[in-house]
Amino acid sequence: MGFEVLFKGSNMLRLLSGMLVALRISLISVLISIVFGVALGSLMSLKKPAITVASKIYLEFIRIMPQMVLLFLVYFGTTKALGINMSAETASIIVFSLWGTAEMSDLVRGALGGIPAIQYESSYSLGMTTFQTYVYVIIPQIIRRMLPLSINLITRMIKTTSLVMMIGIVEVLKVGQQIIEANRKSSPNAAFGVYATVFLLYFVVCYVISMFSKHLEKKWKN
């Protein structure tokens, strides 16, 4: 079945460290996206025309663009046009953060908009400050509302990291190709075993994340 190549030399270890590269890129991007997404989403909720228009354009631009085109644009485009020399990993983190920030800000805006004004006002009426109101009343509700959709976004981001090999990053899929390539003669069936393993790795990561989210959702059901 082609699984035997995985046990040759350090192949399995290489595959795992490829997965780590993918996870590192997504984790950093997710963190950046959360920070900027929350900031941008909050700004959008102020409903200032200039911010609304600018963020709409940004959001639509990111949504229309295939992630791969964005990757090429940032990695090859900026290097050539602006003379900036950035590593492929930096370029992918930028692209994934741009994407994640756009999507996350829209989620934050939606969640904020769904909270009735009375929630703020009854908190103020109890003597709570604006800061206390956000920390104890609004943000916990926002997090609960956003959880399922953010998890969905995060898993989509993780899956999409498979594209970064197109700009030369050796992540799990690329490692897989290399292993298959190197064992073309000795194990002609390696493709199945290797890709199935890659599939399993992605599955395990995304499954763990979605189980964690299900657990929180259940805990917060009330």
Partner: protein
């Protein structure tokens, strides 16, 4: 009796729309005032101005001599001294009944959690909801939620309680249980300003009735004068709009 709340020349505008036009009102300690008027006449706005949830353009609101909502000024920091209950969506959905009640006392008044809980449980017992202390708002009926909202406001020991149509969103069979709580608060001498469309309740609970129309207090008086001998045509017309004969 001594004055607790003073509203003088309160004027509230939204752009060109004058909602409240130089309104004056003095509320005595322990007095229960019921505010009525047609929809959109500015009753909610009036309560919100008192609690400094709205900026006002002219006049001022003072609580026990301290200005709490000056015209054009910064909104107050003594809101905790005035309690307010709204029509619905008051309770924080991610917190249990008990957590809802102790949040502000613990965070704002820095009261010890155990003590706050003890007081909360006593209040819940009083409104017949002790068994619901660990329930979440979505597990309560509308009437139960409003009773919790009232006792949550009481946890801050407010000097004045503002109630804005707190039974308007309830099914008819739940109105009574909430209004009974309000009546018991009136009996123990709480100062309250109540907006309601329940005129029978108003008659029972009010020390003074106030009718707002056109941004002004058009008529005020004891419930007996107000309902039985209205002086102005506008109030007569308003009261007539409630009867079907």
């Amino acid at each position: 009796m001594e004055e607790i709340l003073n509203i003088s020349n309160l004027t509230k505008r939204y752009d060109d729309l004058v909602v409240l036009d130089h309104v004056n009102l003095s509320v005595k300690k322990g007095e229960v005032i019921v505010l009525v008027g047609t929809s959109g006449c500015g009753k909610s706005t009036f309560l919100r101005c008192i609690n400094a949830l709205e900026k006002i353009q002219e006049g001022k609101v003072s609580l026990d001599g301290e200005v709490i909502n000056p015209a054009g000024g910064k909104l107050n920091t003594v809101r905790e001294r005035i309690g307010m209950v709204f029509q619905s969506y008051d309770l924080f959905p991610h917190k249990t009944v008990l957590q809802n009640m102790i949040l502000a006392p613990v965070k704002v008044k820095k009261i010890n959690k155990k003590e706050a809980e003890k007081e909360a449980l006593a209040l819940l017992d009083r409104v017949g909801l002790l068994s619901k202390k660990d329930s979440y708002p979505h597990q309560l009926s509308g009437g139960q939620k409003q009773r919790v909202a009232i006792v949550r406001a009481l946890m801050m020991h407010p000097e004045v309680l503002l109630l804005d149509e707190i039974t308007a969103a309830l099914d008819p069979e739940m109105v009574r249980e909430v209004l009974d709580v309000v009546i018991s608060l009136a009996r123990e001498g709480r100062t309250m300003i109540i907006v309601t469309h329940e005129l029978t309740f108003a008659r029972a609970v009010a020390d003074r009735m106030i009718f707002i129309d056109g941004g002004k207090i058009v008529e005020e008086g004891s419930p007996e004068e107000f309902f039985n001998h209205p002086k102005t045509d506008r109030l007569k017309k308003f009261l007539d709009s409630f009867s079907y004969d």
